[in-house]
Symmetry: C2
Subunit: 396 residues, 2 copies
């Protein structure tokens, strides 16, 4: 085997056990909330025909990971989960139950310039309702987002708007206004002017926008959300919120957390996107949740519980190997999650260090015919019968 | 948007909710057994430097999905999880706890010629112990495999052998003998003869092999397994079992199930593979479990429980929308997994059909001020107070 420098590609990450466990913890939390609302999992392959993905992402298209297979297929790695969703809806429309409520938690790949918080492979977590034009669906999506962050213990605010507020503005100005929070009003104005709007008109457009009252649609969604039990003081109407993507057709929203810039979770209604595949309108509303961003904010707020060891005890192995194996067998027979130390010959100290490093709460030290239970945190050790040991460990 | 035929690439699959749920069920079962043995998750990226993967898979190398990125990096999709594991061990040797016991459940990609049971993207599920030369580790791997299939309710047999039995045979003959079960003795003999062995020598080699007694190593592993509580009548010593891959250095094994050809799960000891990256010996023993094959056999044996709806009730919505929303809110406040029908305006019949299709056990029918609970399976409906309804649903 050729010796090469072991390294991961720029923008790609390995997740060692402690990190992988945290991520698994978040995935399970998300799944449980999605499923409590009747959302079901959908999975699509990592590779798609490149032609399916192209022409969908505007300027960002250059970030698609695209290549030709040996069989001359032009393929691309999944760039997001919305386009594959549209494909799947079209392909399986007769097998799915509508309104179709699905979630997807999968990796996507983008040729980003790696920098803090920007990766080339990252998990996207999406939930969408397909097949309902009703504000009930919009309200349920908001309620779901509120419940996700309530479950995670994170206090968030949802900014909401209606794309109708931009109906007289060309797409290029919407893209500029989308940057309002990021670059500020004067920068947005110069961009609008650069893009062809007279200064006075641009100023008026922005100030008119800021004064727009809630649209009928927003009013209806929010009153429904209230009836559903949504926490209304977490919702802010923000008429300048734009969301750059041009496929939104109604409600748009972003979820923010105090003291942190950027959005954790955002989405809206897109009634025309799927229809373009199918040749008929299929309404849809949903969101994408930034998995890495959410992990980061949860960590900043100490909201990820310490990931406990799955093993409750380490069975050490010294001179009386038969006894160690016998005790290991008995613990396994009792369905106790535990480990036997697998390098017989190592000193007790090294074996206990293993338990420490893996945060295993107890070690069972077998020395001759003597059995002792060591509480690894308290550093206390006591000679006990196996029966007592099993009772103590089982309660952990 | 250009209208293109919605289709998945050859050899790639979408998983609609019912299928995705089954797969999720199996993943969770596997995780729980792995973790009860102290195995921890590890994740590596989908893409690696192509040079890392090349020169590792022999003839199969042509199946690697390889391409050049726009940044001129030569990259390849993960072909298996063993080579990335070797890379990770080398890269993070100072951060990991040894013996390092990890599992990986991730997709791999291979340019296979798609046919029944052969896919180009499929989940591989691996578990390995790195850093122990002891037969304790070999025995624990076998115990883990037995426990996995016990948990899944599937009766399997593990065939075991020692690569030492082949020590006087050239690699090319081992590859031929590996096909014994698949193509039979006479075919294997002709292949050995084709590869350069005289007929008499080949015959004698095969018959000598078949008569080989258990090696000391196998004896030690099996006696340890017995002490650990392994079900010994599930283990068969098979001195002709070869396992083609040339990196095995000790115990090798395959897991088979009656009435089904091929192996569900196989592995062995590979003490030289990781060391080739690192320049020093690092012992390792483990296995790969065929995820698709296991799902298939479980289905054939009716061992996958019906995937129940996550929703316990559907709240219908007819003329009294406020009442429906009020009841939905109350159920959610009680943390009951439930759904509100999201297309107000649809007839009751259509709403109930939705509950049926999603196997939701109850529908709550709100007609004016009247509330009825409908048991969807029994097709029975009864007017009840919301309090009673909550009590009944909570017990489901």
């Amino acid at each position: 085997m050729n010796q090469i420098k072991p390294r991961t590609l720029k923008g790609f990450r390995d997740f060692l056990p402690s990190e992988a466990k945290k991520r698994q913890w978040l995935i399970e939390k998300l799944r449980s909330v999605f499923e409590s609302y009747g959302f079901e999992p959908l999975e699509t392959p990592a590779l798609e025909y490149a032609e399916l993905l192209k022409g969908k992402y505007g300027e960002e298209e250059k970030l698609i990971y695209e290549f030709e297979t040996k069989g001359k297929d032009k393929v691309a790695l999944r760039y997001d989960q919305t386009v594959p969703l549209c494909r799947a809806i079209t392909q399986y429309q007769n097998e799915l139950v509508f309104p179709f409520k699905r979630y997807q938690i999968q990796n996507v790949w983008r040729g980003e310039n790696p920098q803090k918080g920007r990766y080339r492979q990252f998990i996207q977590c999406d939930a969408d309702i397909i097949g309902s034009f009703s504000p009930l669906a919009d309200a349920e999506i908001l309620k779901l987002v509120l419940d996700i962050y309530k479950t995670l213990g994170l206090s968030v605010t949802i900014k909401i708007n209606d794309r109708e507020n931009f109906k007289n503005l060309d797409k290029r100005y919407v893209t500029a206004i989308d940057k309002l929070e990021k670059i500020g009003e004067s920068e947005v104005l110069s961009e609008m002017i650069d893009k062809g709007m007279a200064e006075g008109v641009a100023k008026k457009a922005l100030s008119d926008l800021a004064k727009k009252p809630q649209t009928e649609k927003v009013k209806k969604i929010l009153s429904t959300l209230k009836q559903m039990g949504g926490t209304m003081n977490k919702i802010i109407y923000e008429p300048t919120l734009a969301r750059g993507l041009d496929y939104y057709t109604g409600m748009i929203f972003e979820t923010v957390v105090k003291g942190s810039s950027g959005s954790l979770c955002s989405g809206g209604r897109f009634d025309k996107l799927i229809g373009q595949f199918l040749g008929k309108d299929i309404p849809a509303v949903g969101f994408g949740l930034g998995f890495d961003r959410t992990i980061e904010v949860l960590e900043e707020n100490n909201l990820i519980p310490p990931q406990e060891s799955s093993s409750k005890a380490l069975v050490t192995i010294l001179d009386n190997k038969d006894k160690s194996l016998e005790i290991y067998k008995k613990l396994k027979d009792e369905n106790i999650s535990c480990e036997l130390y697998l390098n017989d010959g190592d000193k007790l100290e090294k074996q206990l260090k293993y338990a420490d490093k893996k945060s295993i709460p107890y070690s069972i030290i077998i020395d001759g015919n003597n059995i002792a239970l060591k509480d690894m945190e308290k550093r206390e050790q006591e000679n006990l019968s196996l029966k007592d040991i099993i009772e103590i460990i089982s309660k952990t």
